[in-house]
Symmetry: C2
Subunit: 395 residues, 2 copies
């Protein structure tokens, strides 16, 4: 028995031959006694087949799930009716082996768009995958590893809370890298807990946690077609949601923030993670709009790649964000140093600024002088390596 | 006397020492007998000092101008009150020499943000600049050359129309490269004609021409703080606007479209220009919104850099554009070949597609199946060279 994994879940993974590289590409989570489930999906109007099927299965099963099956290497998106059939067929095949209904299986896919899912390879891999499913950290690690695409390492975070001497465990895994942008799950995220909670309670919690984490990061401003954040609760701790609701919410948000930070740090070609603190905004949503405008500006992001304290580009990006601003009230800080005062140049130590921006993680603070709302947004630089990775992806 | 330059204008240029490279960086256009003027400016809320001063001079002079002075190498933006004083001082200095009012001088600046304009260098250069002003193509070429920053070559286009055996000339110059995005002049553009027209007539014409040209291009999605499109009409042809209004509008739009195409082709690090044709949209503005979403997607643009027919990324960008779409109605074509049918994969010759995308200019056509509006939008790839140029700009 593991010391960290939530109770009631079994994990396994294998290489089904979907990735050309031969790396693990099929991941399974089983909940033998079932789990409550809630999910958030991409806001892109183009959605992958597993998103359509997963949403439908949640509805038909009234939020009760027995299994989660994820493949990497193929997004099963823009694959038409055949793609929908493929996603359903994977669920049916797995359901048959674990003696569940097809709508108790939640499917996910990530990878290239527009190529039909190699369903036969998945079907062939299922029996061994099911029989290998185990509890414990090693199996959980394998699951985390098999859902990756261009990620360079797996992303895991966990928390536990205690109620009346009973431990409630929460563990999450994520997959990110490119196509990361706010306003949705923005990537694949799976959260597992042994708390006892209803789908409705879980939905409220995951929505709040995502809003405090994945909605405040951006790598390239692209919004994927497959993004999903799924929360499964097995109930095996025996503790009911109502007794720990705020502690659980806090733990869930912490896990999501930790995963979000790992995703940005592992963004394609990323050399620097920038903690963008927007302060003195009129509202949190205006702060987010400004942060997004800065974080998605190619001119800002390339300046970051060059460790160049070019605050003028940041100011310009604030100016076209669409949020009403007073330029003469804006102050910009790079760590401890102020680099823009009242919307204009101010003297600063450029060498020190350049050295600070050469760190792998650093902070830029923008004070708008408009109100009292604030937001931390995680972003990163745009490097020649990002271009290389994405110019070569499908060919 | 030149055979192409509009009558009534004199041009000159010099190296005033604003650019560290020592290249020409100060350009002058004189209109000894005055010209009607109209201008469009950036929609960025952060505007450079010359934009504020230029707008004010147009207002105070009721659209009558005697001179245009442009410097490259310094944007005079985010320079506070000192920057406004600097822009005004340049106008006053020039006005004194040509015996005009300060508000009959239109100022423009382009270059780095947040550094004070070296006014003394400009004042020192003015006398020689004024005395060197000449008509003819050579002087016009020098003007076009001195307004450039990271552009690799000058951008000029001209047209002429004939009315009752009288020729009316129109010539334009532009400066582009980075920070090019729709919804404004998007760069520096100066248009000169010897037609006789009122500022109001000119304003209507330049607005329409910009909407048909510069508002339909994008290099990096960034919106500059200095963008200006200025149209000056000397009246020296003796022909009144009312007799040639539609022919003039057509010629002006043609000149603007030619300049816009030159700007995209000379975008920073650009290896491929993509003519993005959005068809069957509900409206022209929806078509533009979708085109912008595709043209600003780093994932799409890097695929273009790799000559990769990755239509899935195009489809995903359409999906998050914010325009309501029906995925199953969308067809995408790469030149003659269809690469996406009804929002899903369709067989195509990948080798032929790759070869087609290796051309310097090619076409992608998106048919939305939603209406009858269409739009041609010019964009380009995002290359490692773009990153290199912009990571190094201010350091």
């Amino acid at each position: 028995m593991s010391t960290n994994s939530p109770q009631g879940f079994l994990f396994s993974a294998c290489a089904a031959g979907i990735k050309a590289s031969g790396k693990p590409d099929l991941a399974l989570a089983l909940v033998p006694d079932g789990a409550s489930a809630a999910a958030l999906f991409t806001r892109n109007q183009i959605v992958a087949a597993p998103v359509t099927v997963g949403r439908e299965h949640l509805r038909r099963g009234q939020g009760l799930m027995r299994a989660l099956i994820v493949n990497a290497g193929n997004a099963n998106c823009a694959t038409g009716k055949q793609g929908l059939k493929a996603a359903t067929s994977v669920c049916t095949g797995l359901a048959r082996q674990i003696k569940a209904s097809a709508h108790q299986v939640f499917p996910s896919s990530t990878g290239i768009i527009g190529v039909q899912l190699p369903v036969e390879k998945i079907h062939k891999a299922l029996p061994a995958l099911v029989s290998a499913a185990a509890d414990g950290d090693a199996a959980f690690d394998q699951f985390a590893n098999a859902i990756l695409t261009t990620d360079t390492h797996k992303k895991i975070a966990s928390q536990s809370i205690v109620y009346n001497q009973t431990e409630i465990r929460l563990a999450g895994v994520a997959k990110g890298a490119g196509m990361i942008h706010p306003n949705m799950a923005t990537m694949l995220v799976y959260l597992f807990t042994d708390l006892a909670a209803s789908p409705r309670e879980l939905h409220r919690c995951v929505k709040e946690a995502v809003d405090q984490s994945f909605n405040n990061i951006s790598i390239d401003g692209d919004t994927s077609t497959n993004d999903t954040a799924l929360l499964l609760a097995s109930g095996k701790s025996g503790v009911q949601f109502q007794f720990v609701s705020s502690a659980f919410q806090a733990a869930l948000t912490k896990v999501c923030r930790a995963l979000a930070a790992q995703i940005v740090a592992d963004g394609e070609g990323v050399q620097h993670v920038v903690r963008l603190n927007i302060e003195q905004a009129r509202s949190r949503s205006e702060a987010r709009q400004i942060a997004g405008s800065i974080a998605n500006s190619p001119l800002v992001k390339t300046a970051w790649a060059g460790a160049d304290p070019n605050w003028g580009r940041i100011l310009a990006a604030i100016g076209y964000s669409g949020v009403k601003i007073s330029p003469e009230r804006i102050n910009i800080y790079l760590g401890e140093q102020q680099i823009c005062r009242h919307g204009a140049a101010c003297p600063f130590d450029a060498e020190k600024a350049h050295a600070y921006m050469s760190e792998p993680v650093y902070e830029i603070r923008v004070a708008l002088g408009a109100g009292s709302a604030s937001l931390e947004f995680l972003s990163c630089d745009l490097t020649a390596e990002y271009v290389r990775i994405n110019a070569d992806y499908s060919t």
